[in-house]
């Protein structure tokens, strides 16, 4: 999966609520109906990248089963970026749609 696409999916997932890494992977897998499978080697570098650019924040919290887990949440800059990227995605996919159906 291309890095930008994964970034967009992570931002979208976190837009609903903060999650830890496992939760993010689960959610992307479930919602895409298993189309996108997220490996450790792609998910965590992506999270590191987003955190470094200030689009998401992370903190250690107690998880549902009362263990320490690292929770990621989207920042204001992240939401702005998500909005921009979503619009862009819609534009591009609409164009692709038209192109593919036109023939």
């Amino acid at each position: 999966m291309a890095a930008e696409k994964l970034d967009l999916l992570i931002l979208k997932t976190l837009a609903l609520e903060p999650r830890h890494g496992y939760g993010i992977g689960q959610r992307i897998g479930q919602v895409s109906g298993g189309v996108f499978r997220v490996t450790l080697g792609s998910l965590y570098p992506a999270l590191q990248r987003l955190e470094r650019t200030g689009l998401i924040d992370a903190e250690w919290r107690a998880s549902e089963n009362n263990r320490r887990a690292r929770y990621y949440q989207i920042t204001r800059a992240g939401r702005r970026r998500l909005a921009v990227e979503e619009r862009e995605w819609e534009r591009v996919s609409a164009a692709m749609d038209r192109l593919l159906k036109a023939t």
Partner: protein, 886 residues
């Protein structure tokens, strides 16, 4: 931007913690996934297997996280350095050779750069040095290119020149300093009023001279101070050496030429005017020194703000013209020239140094090429390393980085060693016999060190790139299956390698021919007949003082006694003396107008001639040959008719029809009047300033008729003249214990010193050339060895199909010879061009001649010598084994 930077810094500082956290996070992720599958009814090991497939290995995620952090570069560099150190230690011979090669290149070029910087590039250690100029008198009509200035004119210039903020004159001579009971001869400069203010340097301790001290500082015609309550400023070095750096020296008295002087100040160390060796400064009221046509003062001036040298020279020449109208007898035809002080101090040393720096640059290039060749050759032994690493997943960028680290490490070690060598060389140079101005200022300062770093870095790049580039282009497949490359592979690489060696040889050839040119030039200098025979002559300058030897009789008596004692020394053939000796810098040396008595007032008949007083046996002692008439005898005493001997050239110019002997010559002594002399003899011309200078017009007068206090005594000896020095010192001490001997040298050494720079330039160039030659031989050897290893298989096959050992040997040696011949012909082409750069340094014609070509002819021979070892290795190839391995 700021957030990213802060974040980056945080990650750099907390790398360890981030590692642990990532570890925890990843393992939690895996455990949660496993637990989920177990909950759905899988057994644990199966769950783990599936999770591993779905999520990938946590190690690879960990690796990628680490790479994403800024510390990663540092970390990977650290690993590369550790690896490089291991690789270098595995082959100490190769590593040492590379390190030494780079050390040689960097060390030699850095030392030379430090010299160039100190001598030429760094401004003089004076405030606003760019506005300081030296002033010279010039009289093109009389054939005087430039000479010192006349004292009374100086006073008028000071008053009238508008575009100079000051003009100061000075005159340096040896004087006897006595303090705390011990005497020595030191260089003392008498300086005029503007001197210190104009240069803008004040005393480090005490003060310089007041106007009152200046006004009473009178000297008689023998340059002896005669004013009341004389004062002196001393040099920093003298203050430390003789007075233990005691600040209370100011106000104390010292004895100079048996007069008592009060010390008023100590100059700061490194004050370079009028010349670096000056130990004493005496004030000098030049306004009381009347002659307008005795051009013997050094002079320095400072241009007014915003004034160019040309403008100031123009302005001062207007003053000179006005003076020649006012004083036509003394000043007609005299003009001035201003020369930037820096140019005057540095002279043509810059040209020598730039040529040598160019040469050492070529050596540095050869060193880089050599390391590159060695690395390429070495690369083969490391064989499939790069391929293996590529196959194991290393990126090309990682490979490139690692090889560059290796070459940087080599260059860094070499550079450090080179800088150390340069520091030692510089320390040595500061103590060396100075054939360059400002040599004592040389130091390895930050700029020179920066140069060393830059040289090292470019070495690393030039030497490392060909190899690194080649390695990074390696294919994972090609070299894995077989340690040796096929004969058909790597054509491009071999071209690069051979090309580097050819370049190395060419550079060596350029340097060799350069050294050859300088050697021939030096030989020509050495072969010049100076007009006297310096071998076996010892020289001792004598400075008598006015206080004790003021009258002519006393001076005569001293010298008569001295000569008698010296002639009695065992091994002495003859003793002569003159006010100044050829190539010896000490003693009065001045020129006066002269003309034939039968042609008075005829401008065209006047010549400027250098005047010296000599003793009867002077010519015999120095080996100057009589051309006509007679030399002086003891009969040419005070009461006898005044006699003169002319140099050959002057006699011919004054009396072109010949027959100078027994004519009358008139010498114009300016304020002391004009005198007529009987010409009694003619002697050969001599090169007073050494072989690089032309012969001068000279007249010789008998010392007995015109006694001077200062005389340079020459002793011709049967054995090594230097062995006689202690005996001469003893005689001097016995005659007058307060006249310490100093400046005793043998004349050959003094003559050699006039072209010492030629010798040193030649030696420097020769050592660069030899170094480059050795490097190129290492290069040829390395390449041949490389070639034998690389083509082991081909050699084996050739041997298997019946090639004789001789064929194999000539195959190897032939390749070496081809490379060397190619390099030699390219180098000779370049040498013809670069010889032009060196030509200003050469004495006489400077074309690439037979002798320099002969030096180059040595190269192919040496190439054969270094191909012996690789050829031997080639014959040891085991054909059967090669064929077995296929």
């Amino acid at each position: 931007m700021w957030t990213r930077f802060r974040r980056g810094l945080y990650e750099l500082v907390h790398a360890g913690r981030l590692d642990r956290e990532a570890e925890e996070e990843l393992s939690q992720h895996v455990e949660t996934a496993v637990a989920e599958k177990v909950r759905r009814g899988l057994d644990e090991s199966e769950a783990r297997r599936q999770v591993r497939i779905e999520l990938g290995h946590p190690d690879s995620a960990r690796e990628r996280l680490r790479e994403g952090r800024p510390g990663a570069l540092v970390e990977s560099l650290r690993r590369d350095v550790a690896y490089a150190v291991r690789m270098l230690r595995k082959r100490p011979g190769f590593s040492a050779l590379c390190v030494l090669t780079i050390a040689l290149g960097v060390g030699a070029s850095t030392a030379l750069f430090a010299v160039l910087q100190a001598v030429v590039l760094r401004p003089l250690p004076l405030p606003r040095p760019e506005s300081l100029v030296r002033v010279f008198d010039t009289n093109p009509e009389a054939g005087v290119e430039r000479t010192g200035v006349a004292s009374a004119n100086l006073a008028d210039w000071r008053r009238r020149a508008r575009l100079l903020t000051g003009v100061a004159g000075y005159y340096s001579m040896g004087r006897t300093l006595t303090a705390d009971g011990s005497s020595e001869v030191v260089l003392a400069a008498q300086v005029t009023e503007d001197f210190f203010p104009l240069l803008g340097v004040d005393a480090a301790l005490g003060r310089t001279f007041t106007a009152g001290e200046m006004a009473r500082a009178l000297f008689n015609s023998a340059a002896a101070p005669v004013g009341p309550d004389p004062v002196v400023v001393i040099a920093h070095g003298l203050w430390r050496r003789r007075f233990g750096a005691d600040p209370s020296v100011v106000g104390r008295t010292i004895t100079i030429d048996r007069r008592t002087f009060r010390v008023v100040g100590v100059m700061p160390s490194g004050f370079p005017m009028p010349e670096p060796g000056v130990q004493l400064w005496l004030p000098w009221d030049v306004a009381e020194d009347p002659p307008r046509d005795q051009h013997y003062l050094g002079a320095v001036a400072r241009l007014a703000e915003g004034v160019t040298r040309d403008q100031a020279e123009h302005d001062l020449n207007a003053v000179a013209r006005a003076l020649s109208d006012e004083h036509p007898r003394t000043n007609r035809g005299w003009a001035v020239r201003l020369v930037p002080l820096h140019e005057e101090v540095v002279g043509d040393a810059g040209r020598t140094l730039f040529v040598l720096l160019g040469a050492v640059g070529l050596l540095l290039l050869a060193a880089c090429a050599n390391v590159a060749v060695l690395s390429l050759a070495r690369g083969l032994e490391r064989g499939p390393e790069a391929s293996i690493r590529l196959a194991l997943g290393a990126t090309r960028r990682q490979l490139l980085q690692q090889f560059l680290v290796e070459s940087l490490l080599l260059a860094g070690l070499g550079g450090a060693l080179g800088a150390l060598g340069a520091a030692l060389a510089v320390a040595g140079l500061r103590r060396a016999e100075a054939s360059l101005p400002r040599l004592h200022e040389v130091q390895l300062d930050p700029v020179a060190l920066l140069f060393a770093v830059a040289a090292t870095a470019s070495c690393a790049l030039v030497a490392g790139l060909p190899y690194a580039w080649r390695r990074a282009r390696a294919n994972a497949g090609t070299e894995l299956h077989d340690g040796t490359t096929r004969a058909t592979a790597g054509r491009g690489r071999r071209l690069v390698r051979d090309g580097l060696v050819v370049a190395e040889v060419a550079l060596a050839v350029v340097l060799l021919t350069g050294a050859g040119l300088l050697f021939r030039s030096y030989q020509r200098l050495h072969a010049v007949d100076p007009g006297f025979e310096p071998e076996g002559v010892l020289v001792a300058p004598i400075f008598l003082d006015m206080e004790t030897y003021g009258s002519e009789d006393k001076t005569r008596a001293y010298y008569a006694r001295l000569f008698e004692r010296l002639e009695a020394l065992p091994g002495v053939v003859s003793v002569g003396a003159a006010t100044a000796l050829p190539t010896s810098p000490l003693g009065p040396d001045f020129e006066r107008p002269v003309w034939p008595e039968e042609r008075p007032g005829e401008e065209r008949a006047r010549r400027q001639a250098w005047v010296r007083m000599v003793t009867p046996r002077y010519f015999e002692t120095l080996g100057i040959r009589l051309r006509a008439g007679r030399t002086f005898t003891d009969a040419d005493g005070p009461a006898a008719p005044h006699a003169v001997i002319l140099s050959e050239g002057l006699a011919r110019r004054l009396w072109p029809a010949g027959g100078a002997v027994s004519r009358r010559l008139v010498v114009d002594y300016s304020t002391s009047g004009t005198y007529g002399y009987d010409v009694v003899g003619v002697v050969n011309d001599l090169r007073f300033g050494g072989p690089r200078r032309a012969a001068r017009d000279e007249i010789y007068l008998p010392h007995a008729q015109r006694p001077y206090l200062v005389m340079n005594v020459a002793l011709r000896t049967r054995a090594d003249p230097r062995q006689l020095a202690p005996a001469v010192r003893e005689v001097l001490h016995e005659i007058d214990a307060q006249k310490p001997a100093h400046g005793i040298h043998d004349l050959s050494t003094l003559l050699g010193a006039t072209y010492a720079r030629d010798r040193q330039t030649m030696l420097a160039m020769a050592s660069f050339a030899v170094a480059a030659l050795l490097l190129s031989l290492f290069g040829v050897h390395g390449v041949l060895l490389h070639r034998v290893r690389e083509q082991k298989r081909e050699i084996g096959i050739r041997m298997a199909v019946g090639a004789s050992r001789g064929r194999i040997v000539s195959w190897v040696a032939g390749h070496g010879l081809r490379l060397v011949l190619m390099g030699t012909s390219i180098g000779l082409g370049l040498a013809v061009v670069s010889a032009r750069a060196a030509s200003p340094l050469l004495f006489g014609a400077g074309a690439v001649d037979g002798a320099s070509l002969l030096a180059v002819a040595v190269l192919p021979l040496t190439a054969l010598v270094v191909s012996v070892h690789p050829a031997w290795r080639a014959t040891r190839v085991d054909a059967a084994e090669v064929l077995r391995r296929g």
